[in-house]
Amino acid sequence: MIAGTSYAEVMARRQDIMKSAVGIDYEKFRTGAIAFDYEAMMDEVGYTLEEVHAIQEETNVGHTPLVELRNITELVRRISDLGKGARIFVKDESANPSGSFKDRRASVSVYYAKAKGYPGVIAATSGNYGAAVASQAAKRGLQCIIVQETYDSRGLGQPEIIEKGRACEAYGAEVHQLTVGPELFYVFLRLLEETGFFNASLYTPFSVTGIETLGYEVGAETLRATGRYPDAVIVTHAGGGNVTGTARGLRKAGSRHTEVIAASVDLSGLHMASDTDFNRKSFTTGHTGFGIPFATWPDRADVPRNAARPLRYMDRYVTVTQGEVFYVTEMLAKLEGMERGPAGNTSLVAAIAIAREMDRDEVVVVQETEYTGAGKHPYAQLSFAREMGVEVRRGDPGDNVPGKRIVIPDHPSQIRVKELSLPEIRKSYIRNALAHAGGQALSEEDIRFLAKDTNSSVGFVEATIRELAQVV
């Protein structure tokens, strides 16, 4: 029987398509209406840290330099109170083969796909991950298809995504470039069915364990360089894998008291599926348009159970503005001689603000950089923003309005972070979990799971459920 290819028919088959395209039986980890055994899934499906190191060494991934940003640290000290201004380090992940930490995620997925005999890999991504999958597939001799959201309805491509498509093609991938819309997932499912390729999802245990080596290296190398584990690690947060894998790796390195701080670019007010908002963003990842939805409901991903569960691991969640990231990108180039990003520098902005609160003998680590290039570079993005009618000016970054005004700070002391309320995000997660349970009775196991998945307590979960019941 030939299966139908209409939107509704393909979406109805999504579970079966995904099961054969990732080779994981997620159902066996289910322990309740909501609950599942996350650690068992990570242990059984993923690889050990040693195995991941070995896989990554085969394709030259990881072991990137940990760089002390001496001039930026000095600048921060000059604008801080006496005795304040932590040492700032950055893990130069742009030294990976395709230029970002995403190679770590891709390496394990592509290794697994090859080991299991899949003829190729597919990923749905408009970001650096596409180039990473394509690069790793090239190294292991697998075919690769990347599906991107590239254009608005006028056929105008976001320059950063055009660049990432070019990089995928450079590594030999077939690139499918779509206009705006979440139905990208439908195109993706049809390709998986047609080709029998492996779904190199960002959200499998393979992808997340691939990042654990980054957290491990950050912990171990900081200890070696400074005699202490990092006091804080700042992670640019979008889909949640970066926070999850880094935090897990830090723990495996023995760094148990490091504060894990997630940072996203504030794009509040812009709709991620809007044709008209699409090209009014100057960031295509690392922003709140992914960061908040994936924190408040990780299982919105392209696999049934997301291995990236950021609320379990983030101790703090902050946002910064687009203009601050461009300013700091310029700072990194001019003061440290490193032209990187800009999107990957989101966490560096937060580090500069947070280092000012910390003591001089403390250490803060920014755990990634990414390559820069045509389309991505601040000049490219700001020129494009102007063409799209977005105002660009110097001033107080507090005057930033996503999609309307980008404000480049006048002075580094204006760099600050906005705190998001983790209790509110946890409540929002619990609300989403209850909605997905669809009225099924929750067991004690479900409540315990929600407490773990939100890094809160059984008491907090129960109080939230009572509060939500009163609102309805």
Binding site: A173, Q177, V180, V187, A273, Y379, F384, E387, R394
Partner: protein
């Protein structure tokens, strides 16, 4: 066009890289094709209003299977050897992205920051 830079809009734009009719393409040329995946009205229900009004479109590149003119329905063979069909929209399409123009709001940032490091002194970092 935007900022005088042609080719950023993905539309009929290419030339075959050989003399003669620039709307003509030949078997084996590297081309881009376009197709509509979902028409307005077929879009997913959760899509916002502005996106509901426009189709979901797909562009793919590959090698043309047969001679054709821009705008024709054609088939291509992709770099992976797979077949795809659609309307021929560009021949050997350029990458339209670039580094843009220098941004005046950023041009003085380096000098400002170095001044802060140099003038106020007293720190113990590397800056001098």
């Amino acid at each position: 066009m935007h900022d005088g830079r042609e080719g950023r809009v993905a539309s009929v734009q290419g030339r075959a890289g050989r003399a003669g009719d620039s709307t003509r393409a030949y078997a084996g040329d590297y081309v881009q094709i376009h197709s509509v995946i979902l028409r307005p009205g077929e879009r997913a229900p959760q899509v916002p209003e502005d996106t509901q009004k426009v189709p979901l479109e797909l562009r793919i590149k590959g090698f043309l299977d047969h001679d054709a003119c821009l705008g024709d329905e054609v088939t291509i063979t992709t770099v992976l050897g797979r077949k795809a069909a659609g309307r021929l929209v560009a021949v050997n399409p350029a990458y339209p992205h670039d580094f843009g123009r220098p941004v005046p709001e950023l041009l003085h940032v380096g000098e400002e920051l170095w001044r802060l490091l140099r003038v106020r002194g007293g720190g113990e970092g590397e800056a001098s």
